[in-house]
Symmetry: C2
Subunit: 193 residues, 2 copies
């Protein structure tokens, strides 16, 4: 039996995305966002929603660019800090000791300490309500050697992404492999033959 | 050192969302979508991107409603099937033996076998490219008693959501708790004094 919990933003898993941007003076900032994800395959795009009150909102509106950086589970405390603090008041890179790196293709810094980063240019914005959604075209994905196998294949087990559970307000790690996509469901297709 | 992997939709984690809808004749359908997530807190909204070629695309355009159903890791094979097969050709509920349930607030069925479901009404669509993004206002969230504690608090550990790794094409389960959000990062705020 299902019980109603009301109209809330409960969805599992939501990602923990570190959004990199430059302010008007060129100071790099980074913030944590859980409201986002991939939103198109061709062109490859990612959506991220931000409140107008965030420092990153103004940066992204001005620069029309951002990066999405995927943190690893051993970085969870820093990620939480990047979500609590505001770039208006503190230099989050300086406090954390983390390193902004100039992107190759977009006007936003990526985070050196994240093993997987996406360089994005803003192609659309839509004000939904408290949050405004930014759609960014993914111009390039970069990954550290350390999270790839000997053939250059990216391995999620090495990236060790984690997720945020809304309402519950906890972070959870990644578990083991459950199966191959577009494969383990084929048994049902035979059944329906 | 980071290597360029090109412009691709690589982001971890992406969710495995089961989207429920009715066709013109009232037949329920369900499909798996990984391109989606929460996109606004007030009003509470979720975004899901679909290709025009999917059966669900037409259903959602016509009915202006959908459900988001969160599957558990022991349901991964069915979830994969729901992503491979098309509702144009097969009755996915009939083949899987799963059960569509009439929603209370929107014109779309939720999935009885999923412990966590969201009833959504379409408030905006945007054609990005291959995918069209639907923004749905979350009208209600419902959860099974079995995934809540004795006080009615929803526990992610009981829902056991899993995620899809794009490009890698594998599903991964949920790991252990890493820490409390808006809490474990506070140590850095003291540092910045």
């Amino acid at each position: 039996m299902k019980k109603s919990l009301g109209a809330k933003t409960i969805l599992y898993p939501t990602p923990t995305l570190l959004i990199g941007s430059y302010d008007e003076a060129g100071k790099p900032n980074v913030m944590t966002a859980a409201w986002g994800g991939v939103c198109c395959s061709i062109p490859p795009c990612v959506a991220v929603s931000l409140r107008k009150a965030t420092y990153t909102y103004g940066n992204m509106m001005n620069r029309k660019a951002f990066t999405v950086n995927i943190p690893s589970e051993n970085q969870v405390a820093v990620v939480d800090f990047f979500g609590i603090a505001s770039g208006k008041k503190v230099d989050k890179f300086a406090v954390s000791g983390w390193t902004p790196v100039k992107s190759d293709l977009v006007d936003a810094p990526f985070v050196k300490e994240c093993s997987l980063v996406l360089e994005c240019r803003v192609i659309h914005t839509y004000e939904i309500g408290l949050h405004t959604q930014f759609i960014g075209e993914i111009m390039d994905v970069k990954a550290d050697d350390s999270v790839m196998d000997e053939n250059g294949k990216l391995l999620p087990e090495k990236v060790k992404p984690f997720f945020y559970a809304p309402e519950d307000h906890r972070y959870f790690g990644m578990g083991g492999e459950l199966g191959k996509a577009h494969a383990i469901g084929k048994s049902f297709i035979k059944t329906s033959g």
